[in-house]
């Protein structure tokens, strides 16, 4: 067996196999080209990378620890579960790794204004945070439904000096926030840098966000060997490591009310600047999704995940709302960690498969964020008035 799988993605125009690419209106093409060129220069510039790493160490508090959830593992009676503690980062999630990189890039490109879309509000908070840190104006687009269900994060963004714009079109969630951010960008393209919060969107965003998030997997690789991570990339070329992506099953994939395009074999489609698997109806209209977790309530998926599915390098599964909620409570009670609802999906799947595995096998879960922002949602579900 070769000790390294060969993996060289994407191509020069941002294609991961049949996925990725650049699908935007002409007005943005030049800006995306400029971004690609500047990004390539920046990551080859030792000063830029040194500043990025310095900020991660001193501002974010990296490296984040890997923690052995021993008690929970024992209760589950199978594989050992380890948690990569992105919840301990400044701002409470992995999102800040990316926003620091992109804010430094924005500053380098002379942009004075940044915009972002957000679902759970974690990316919005991380964007507002770095905007305050580097003295940039910040506008965050957030679906009106998410503004209501993630209220602590809305107030955090405002405290940090950002303007939060509730988006009332469409399903009033992450997808619609992204539409509105794109509209802002097309209007203010000269002055504005668009900080996309996930490995999606038109090239070079999926690559750029991936590269800024690779720090999670690179650290984990050193911190422990031969394990799996949610931010897959550093592990893609490591044979013998199973990669499992967990999608939001919502009320159950059979109900149609979910956000699990990969698990449900959605057709390939074009949205938000990229080609990838996409939840849509027979006429190519994007369908409304459902997840208890605002950060996962999105009909698409980054092009690299779609590619990893196509080549069989990663497996994708869905976890329903109620399973995620159970894992949320279990981690609170058995490990004293309040996880984000997004991360609770991965935790729930770990809890599901751990008992089927041997005690000396290892599961590494990227605990991507902390659950403080979800407390109003959980309380409401539990019938408690705060």
């Amino acid at each position: 067996m070769n000790d390294k799988l060969r993996y060289n993605q994407p191509d020069a125009r941002g294609h991961f196999g049949q996925h990725g690419g650049i699908y935007v209106a002409e007005t943005l093409m030049a800006a995306l080209d400029e971004l690609r060129v500047e990004y390539e220069k920046a990551i080859a510039d030792p000063d830029f990378m040194a500043e990025y790493r310095y900020e991660l160490a001193h501002y974010v508090g990296r490296p984040s620890p890997v923690y052995h959830a021993k008690r929970w593992s024992e209760l589950l009676g199978g594989a050992q579960i380890y948690l990569k503690r992105e919840d301990l980062n400044h701002t409470g999630a992995h999102k800040v790794n990316n926003t620091i990189g992109q804010a430094l890039l924005a500053r380098r490109m002379g942009k004075k204004r940044v915009i972002a879309e957000t679902g759970a509000g974690q990316h919005g908070v991380a964007s507002a945070t770095v905007a305050a840190r580097y003295g940039l104006e910040c506008v965050v687009y957030m679906g009106a439904e998410d503004v209501a269900r993630q209220s602590p994060n809305v107030y955090r963004m405002k405290l940090l000096g950002a303007t939060v714009v509730p988006v009332t079109s469409g399903s009033k969630t992450l997808k619609d926030a992204m539409n509105e951010a794109m509209r802002d960008w097309v209007t203010n393209v000269d002055s504005t840098y668009y900080i996309i919060g996930t490995c999606a969107g038109p090239h070079p965003y999926p690559t750029l966000v991936r590269d800024f998030q690779c720090v999670i997997g690179e650290e984990a690789k050193v911190q422990m060997q031969d394990m799996i991570g949610r931010h897959f990339h550093p592990y893609v070329e490591v044979p013998g490591v199973r990669l499992i992506g967990v999608e939001a099953g919502g009320h159950g994939v059979e109900t149609g009310q979910h956000a699990a395009p990969l698990t449900t074999n959605a057709k390939v489609g074009v949205l938000h600047g990229q080609r990838s698997y996409l939840m849509q109806d027979a006429n190519g209209q994007i369908v409304e999704t459902h997840s208890v977790s605002a950060g996962l309530d999105y009909p698409g998926v980054g092009p690299e995940h779609s590619y990893l599915k196509d080549i069989g390098r990663a497996e994708y599964v869905a976890i329903n709302d109620d399973e995620a909620l159970k894992a949320f409570h279990d981690l609170c009670r058995f490990e004293g960690i309040i996880p984000a609802l997004e991360s609770s999906h991965a935790l729930a799947h770990a809890a599901k498969i751990a008992p089927t595995m041997a005690k000396d096998q290892v599961l590494l879960v990227n605990l991507s964020g902390r659950g403080d922002k979800d407390i109003p949602t959980i309380a409401k579900l539990d019938g408690i008035q705060l």
């Binding site: 935007v24 849509q280 006429n283």
Partner: protein, 267 residues
């Protein structure tokens, strides 16, 4: 020569500019679209741009977003839009129709299947906003094979190096987006449009239409003085939004006032 090419060539020979109104198919309800298309022709439309409703119209401002929502509330699909064009063609064999929309509904149908159905319905051109030339090779080739003109956008931000890539694939006309922004924005700056058009036209052999922000006879006249075609969208959709009472007549009347102003701009 395609119907679009013939129409634009004839206007050019006459030293006139094309008037291209845009409405969203199925707005305010599917049963009205064909009647509204005829009303546009009556008002002086040379080409009709028919918007294909999409759930996520990223390049559109609130007015056309709402038009899409109204049409989708009636379940209007791309196939339904083709049906409307076929219906229109029964009584108008001359006015070119361009479908304007987003890539996904076309992708979902498949380029080949769509192109065949579109030609059969009498569609002349297709503009997919989020399909830049880099990703449009296959689609443009398929369209051309079926005699459909692929229409591409150019923007104030388009560098010279990209104009050639657009020119290589474009036919019929290219659509110059007059401003940085979404449809319906009201910040048209005719002087900067004129300057950029002069630059573009030195590289282009196809006619250039200008749209975004043209909303009255005066701005149409000013743009007609520098472009080959004038596209008016949000202003007409606002008229649709104002209610069905007398709608067809209002569209005709407004467009006729624009047509009259443009014809005073003869070069």
């Amino acid at each position: 020569m395609s119907r679009i090419q013939k129409t634009l060539a004839a206007l050019k020979a006459d030293c006139r500019q094309a008037l291209i109104p845009f409405i969203t198919a199925g707005d305010p309800r599917p049963g009205l679209t064909v009647e509204l298309m005829h009303a546009l022709v009556k008002g002086g439309a040379d080409v009709i741009e028919l918007g294909v409703p999409f759930s996520d119209p990223m390049a559109d401002g609130p007015v056309i977003q709402r038009a899409s929502e109204r049409a989708l509330a009636h379940g209007v699909s791309l196939r339904d839009v083709l049906g409307m064009v076929a219906e229109f063609r029964k009584t108008d064999a001359g006015t070119p129709v361009v479908l304007m929309g987003y890539a996904n509904p076309v992708e979902a149908m498949g380029y080949q299947v769509f192109a065949q159905a579109a030609v059969a319905a009498g569609v002349d051109g297709v503009l997919t906003v989020d399909l830049p030339p880099e990703e449009a090779e296959e689609c443009a080739a398929t369209f051309k094979r079926h005699g459909i003109d692929p229409i591409f956008l150019l923007a104030p931000t388009t560098p010279v190096s990209r104009i050639q890539a657009v020119e290589r694939l474009a036919s019929g006309y290219v659509y110059y987006v007059s401003l940085k922004g979404v449809t319906g924005a009201a910040t048209l700056d005719v002087a900067s449009v004129a300057a950029k058009l002069a630059e573009l036209q030195s590289y282009l052999s196809v006619p250039v239409g200008v749209g975004f922000g043209i909303r009255d006879p005066e701005s149409a006249r000013a743009v007609a003085a520098v472009a080959d075609a004038v596209v008016i969208g949000s202003r007409l959709v606002q008229e649709v939004e104002a209610g069905e009472a007398g709608l067809a007549a209002r569209l005709t009347e407004f467009l006729a006032s624009v047509r009259a102003a443009m014809d005073t701009a003869r070069r």
